[in-house]
Symmetry: C2
């Protein structure tokens, strides 16, 4: 998963995978059907963890809105050391995979949609808890939040100044907070 995450699908060769998995080609093709199927498994693993993390983060917090805000803030502290890549594997895959591989693309799209739905659930909880106006549209807010996350993780990929990243995450998190007092 880490290998695919960092190098992308087509830039990861079977030689790389053999070394990372400590398996010989025959075993790899016995366990998975193909390189594409292996990649799909890696995608599922990655997305599953992300979805679990997001679910827990929202469910455990007393305030859903604060949890969402904290998540954005945490992206501002993304270190290049703690994780294989600061960029999102789903986004990297979305940009790499073309229409000529519809199956893979649909897997990516499905996971992105699941994440968006989780975010929408969080916003819906915030609305139900009275943290947001009753007429706020969770789906719309979720799409906006996800757009922030996309942008933030890409900025993290290029930004070298930690303070600038921190400020940026703060600015975006404030947008979420400001929804509270918005009409």
């Amino acid at each position: 998963m880490t290998l695919f995450w960092v190098k992308g699908y087509s830039a990861t060769s079977l030689k790389d995978l053999e070394q990372a998995l400590q398996m010989r080609p025959g075993s790899i093709y016995a366990a998975f059907r193909s390189k594409e199927a292996l990649f799909r498994a890696a995608l599922d693993l990655y997305a599953g963890r992300m979805e679990a993390e997001l679910t827990a983060m929202i469910a455990d917090a007393p305030s859903a809105l604060t949890a969402l805000r904290s998540y954005l803030l945490s992206l501002g502290g993304l270190d290049h050391c703690e994780k294989p890549s600061t960029a999102c594997m789903l986004v990297k895959s979305l940009l790499e995979i073309q229409m000529d591989r519809p199956e893979l693309r649909n897997v990516v799209l499905a996971h992105l949609e699941t994440v968006r739905r989780l975010l929408a659930q969080g916003f819906a909880r915030a609305v139900a808890a009275g943290e947001l106006p009753q007429d706020a549209d969770p789906a719309r807010l979720a799409r906006r939040m996800q757009t922030y996350v996309f942008g933030l993780k890409i900025q993290a990929q290029r930004e070298t100044d930690p303070e600038a990243m921190q400020r940026l995450a703060q600015d975006l998190a404030d947008e979420i907070s400001d929804l509270r007092r918005a009409a």
Copy 2:
């Protein structure tokens, strides 16, 4: 350029390039030094156009802030037909190119920095024109704006509902407008 834009660097083969350029391998390697150098030329062409477009958009408009807002709004109408890809070639390249190709990476980073600087100039003009508070930080606003653009273009890559995209762009554009009355 279009080929690299759509397929990415490593997924574009010389056979593809031969057909697109209507040149045989020898001529390609006489005109450019290598596949990497050709890609660099494509990057420069793409970024140059984007930078020119952005410069003109800001310079021609009576209000810099309105121009920046309009730019975000226009991203909401990105059609999958009019352009080769709705995603930004610079971002795609940033996510694809690893540290093991520092030259290419630096080219991408330099172009992204140039775009950010152009946006900062736009915000600086807005401050000078009194459209924004005097203590607004153009560099910070530019980084935020660029983050919006990154996120929007990625959403455009997956979103199928034009209305949702339009609403999303509207939401983000409104964030820029709201800066006017912010303290």
